[in-house]
């Protein structure tokens, strides 16, 4: 009898706790995006190559797990490609950003216009 009561209380508690917590899983795969952002800034923002590897790794891992890449990550990678003179890849990343997140459209168009076309 005592154990039935205890079980009842426990089940009740679990249900209540469940009611407080949202049930949906995360919308995006973040990997180590935030700590990477911070560390790059601490190390000075000019170490573009290591930032690029970090971003590319997050995109690859998200794809491998079938998860969505967070908003802004493709645009960030695009900016890093621009900074290192990899313009076609940069434009491609900004296009992906706009396609996945149409909310970024106005800004992506601004960035594309602000970057002078370089002839290859």
């Amino acid at each position: 009898m005592k154990s039935i009561l205890l079980k009842g209380v426990l089940v009740g508690c679990v249900c209540l706790l469940g009611a407080c917590a949202p049930v949906s899983p995360p919308l995006y795969y973040w990997g180590n995006y935030q700590p990477a952002l911070y560390q790059h800034h601490q190390n000075g923002v000019t170490n573009y190559d290591s930032q690029i590897s970090a971003m590319e790794a997050i995109v690859a891992r998200a794809q491998a797990q079938g998860q969505s890449v967070p908003p802004g990550l493709h645009a960030h990678l695009g900016m890093l490609y621009f900074n290192t003179g990899r313009e076609p890849e940069a434009r491609e990343q900004f296009a992906v950003e706009k396609q996945l997140f149409p909310e970024s459209g106005h800004f992506v168009d601004y960035v594309m216009k602000a970057q002078p076309e370089t002839s290859l």
């Binding site: 800034h41 802004g72 645009a75 601004y110």
Partner: protein, 218 residues
């Protein structure tokens, strides 16, 4: 004996129930009417003595807001865009007219964050690392106030998960990865503050955005 178990259960249940109860409800009318899809967070204004506070907090805003269902403009790109336009001081950026900001970003809403506490104070027996910030969200076109909030987190708390919900846990988990490689405790606490301030799961927090609402409908 049985009575005392019952009583104990009741006390436990009521404690759990009160844990869920919200305080004064926030007036979300303007927020609902504006229904923003995107949030441009401007570089936070730092009112503390620690120069790393602004960017440290800035790197923490994307997870809670994006997981709440909004498009969040990438903070590193936002920072660089302002820098290319000769603006590096968050105070100057916060003073810009909305029209100028939106010529560039076209954001549905703009968020202004102020950091009022950041760092460790050493007391006799304990050290307290504390980060406090407040945020104001305005409509990107009209400038109307949509939402306002404030949050604080401290190293002296038990490591529980009040306020942030699942996203709060996610933020804490992400931050715990980095705390082994850097000794920056304030950075870790900033993540907790940001999760509490900017998660739709928080009490009187931002409303769930379109991308979260559409996932919840599925």
């Amino acid at each position: 004996m049985r009575l005392s178990i019952k009583l104990g259960g009741l006390v436990l249940l009521s404690a759990l129930l009160t844990g869920c109860v919200t305080t004064t409800p926030y007036d979300y009318n303007a927020f609902r009417a504006s229904n923003p899809r995107s949030i441009l967070v401007l570089p936070p204004v730092n009112q503390t003595l620690d120069v790393s506070a602004s960017y440290s907090f800035f790197t923490h805003v994307s997870v809670p807001l994006a997981e709440s269902g909004y498009y969040v403009f990438p903070v590193a790109v936002v920072e660089e865009t302002f820098r290319e336009n000769g603006m590096t001081d968050p105070n100057d950026i916060h003073a810009l007219p909305l029209e100028r900001i939106n010529e560039v970003f076209g954001a549905d809403s703009v968020m202004y964050i102020k950091i009022t506490q950041y760092g460790t104070s050493y007391q006799l027996l304990v050290s307290d690392t504390r980060v406090t910030a407040d945020a104001t969200l305005v409509d990107g076109r009209t400038g109307d106030l949509l939402w306002k909030g404030q949050a604080t987190a401290s190293s002296t708390e038990q490591s529980n998960n009040n306020g942030g919900g699942l996203v709060g846990m996610l933020v804490v988990a992400l931050v715990e990865q980095v705390v082994n490689s850097t000794t920056d405790r304030s950075y870790q606490i900033a993540g907790m503050t940001s999760g509490r301030l900017l998660s739709s799961g928080a009490v009187n927090g931002v409303l769930p955005g379109p991308r979260l609402r559409s996932q919840q409908r599925q």
